[in-house]
Symmetry: C2
Subunit: 380 residues, 2 copies
């Protein structure tokens, strides 16, 4: 069964991927080569031959079966059985996401580093935290992030709920001294009592650090940014320009999709930074978490959704332009370079991955006023 499927489908895909390797003398308008054994008809199959379907789709500017297998649609929300989404929980999460009173200085919220109206980032190489301190890693976008296999550049937390607990307590970020201190602040704000009760109706004492993280996580699980790219994947041939489609072809054929795959074009695996030649690194990435030599200098492959809007790039935010980031990836990960027109197409494709911000959903809500026991800012 497997083998017949495979012989039947090989015609579809072999030609597409072999058509246009960058820099090998081909052109990118359709040069093809089939292995002799691949050119077989399946007489027992009455439907349109997949090779014909693929050529038709491609020539019409439509996504092919290969594109659909590689990327797939962005879900409307990024659900998890462990944290069912309810309107009350999401509304609470939105308030907490924006509430600077969850930081020691009362100046920093989740949104300070992951700015929702700036595609979930702050544009800084590394973000200023408590008293302007900066960590070693770039703040990644929160949009579409709940799809990832794990959170943080090194994947040290399994989901957005667990992630949310980290920065609040990190001394160089929001710098709260303990989960109990956070809970005390939330309890001191009278309006949160009803909001937590509505979000966690089964619980007698719903204001807990775990529930705070669940509410923020629930809010984040709807931070998706479908856009032109998704309309194209869904069959709207006009949603991408010819240059963007050329860039997509180059992206696939260069091997970018071996890591940047799935609905998020990333977030599915860890990969070594500096694969075909050593990249200058001190940060050992995932290797420092697992202790495995095999994962030294591995980082979570970031999503390329909205990548044109989320500079600077890489785990340390050290690269300021998308073109430079692409050049480094081609060079250090794939051992390749591209011509100037090819780079232009690649960048056009990557810019087409910019989605639409859910403006109504992310609008900053009115936050409940502090109570008499709510502590003031602590700048020490």
């Amino acid at each position: 069964m497997r083998h017949s499927i495979q012989n039947w489908l090989v015609v579809t895909f072999a030609g597409l991927a072999l058509g246009a390797f960058p820099g090998c003398g081909g052109n990118d308008t359709g040069q093809r080569e089939h292995a002799p054994e691949a050119v077989k008809a399946d007489a027992g199959h009455a439907a349109e031959h997949p090779a014909e379907a693929a050529v038709k789709a491609e020539s019409a500017g439509l996504p092919t079966a290969q594109h659909k297998a590689l990327f797939g649609p962005l879900p409307a929300e990024m659900t998890a059985d462990s944290n069912p989404l309810t309107p009350a929980k999401i509304d609470l999460g939105r308030m907490l996401y924006y509430d600077t009173r969850l930081s020691k200085s009362q100046q920093i919220s989740c949104n300070s580093c992951h700015q929702l109206d700036h595609y979930g980032v702050d544009g800084e190489p590394t973000s200023p935290g408590h008293k302007g301190q900066r960590g070693a890693r770039n703040s990644p976008t929160v949009y579409n992030a709940a799809l990832h296999l794990a959170q943080f550049w090194d994947g040290r937390e399994p989901d957005v709920e667990a992630q949310a607990k980290g920065p609040i307590l990190n001394p160089v970020e929001m710098a709260m001294p303990s989960p109990e201190a956070v809970v005390a602040v939330v309890k001191s704000i009278p309006g949160y009592a009803a909001a937590f009760a509505a979000a966690f109706p089964e619980e007698a004492d719903p204001i807990t650090y775990d529930n705070l993280a669940k509410a923020i996580g629930a809010f984040e699980r709807k931070l998706v940014t479908p856009g032109r790219w998704d309309r194209w994947l869904a069959g709207d041939a006009t949603a991408l320009t010819a240059a963007e489609r050329r860039g997509l072809d180059l992206f696939v054929e260069s091997g970018c999709t071996i890591c940047h795959m799935g609905p998020d074009l990333g977030g599915s695996l860890y990969q070594k930074m500096g694969l075909v030649k050593p990249y200058p690194l001190t940060d050992e990435g995932r290797g420092a978490i697992t202790g495995n030599e095999a994962e030294r200098f591995f980082f979570k492959v970031p999503s390329l959704r909205n990548v044109a809007e989320t500079a600077p790039y890489f785990h340390d935010g050290s690269v300021t332009t998308l073109e430079e980031a692409v050049r480094i990836m081609l060079d250090y990960q794939l051992g390749r370079s591209v011509t100037a027109p090819q780079m232009s197409d690649l960048l056009a494709f990557l810019k087409a991955l910019t989605g639409d911000l859910p403006k109504a959903y992310i609008a900053m809500p009115e936050l409940p006023p502090s109570g008499p026991d709510t502590p003031g800012p602590d700048l020490s």
Copy 2:
């Protein structure tokens, strides 16, 4: 600093990787193309220019800097701070590895499925366990396995010590009812008392299930198989034939190394089976362990060391020949196919990854005789 390193090195690598894409009309004897901006001399650097060094190395049949970055040497032993290797512990582990009394039927040992004189495999799609039962996954080789980021096809155990505990208790494998039952068997064999005491000299009661696993793990941490490939990587140009080097070039340029990298040519990451088109799968692999949609159908990328000796292939052992396995990988993972001569070169390269078995190290030791309380086989 990073940018100057990178501009300086790009000349070295860009040409190598762009030289010979399969099926794009180039030949594989040195067609090159440089991006215009890549061709820059570094006047401040007095040593041999790396582009010249790379061309010299390649034309002499020597490994290039790119090869060294991609692969790296196999260590003499695969150490872990959590389990220091001592001769006594290793000798104990070797005995336990071969001891069928660790199975309910007393017919199955570690070596039954991971046969050390057969490159650590049994040649079966899935291995026969207790009463001939078979699981759903192929028994992978134990050679060089301690280098992997984690153990099992789905990475559900972190290291070889944790792995060793699984099959002994699995009802369809060695089928022992509990760790306590295993410990009771070991304690009933008089000769093991001194062996455990020598292996764990600090411990008053050293015969424990954890220590049994540590001893087996310690033995496995020296199961490395350096061979011709390593001699070539170390600078012996004669260690690979011209066909094997052509196969290596094709392997790198086709993108195989994006997953099959490092000293083990694999074992460093999880990847989706069926990347550019869906592969017929029921086993969800790592996704079933983590529950992450992003990892559905992901499996640990297996090592390609000794791959010519470890058929059948893939997580389910469903593919019997190496050529078919390569064809499926090219097709489903990379969207490519190769010509018959290219396949021949690829297979030649993969066969060159067969290393030397450590025959003296793996020789089956004399096992301590059973005592009066040692249970007999239980075939129920």
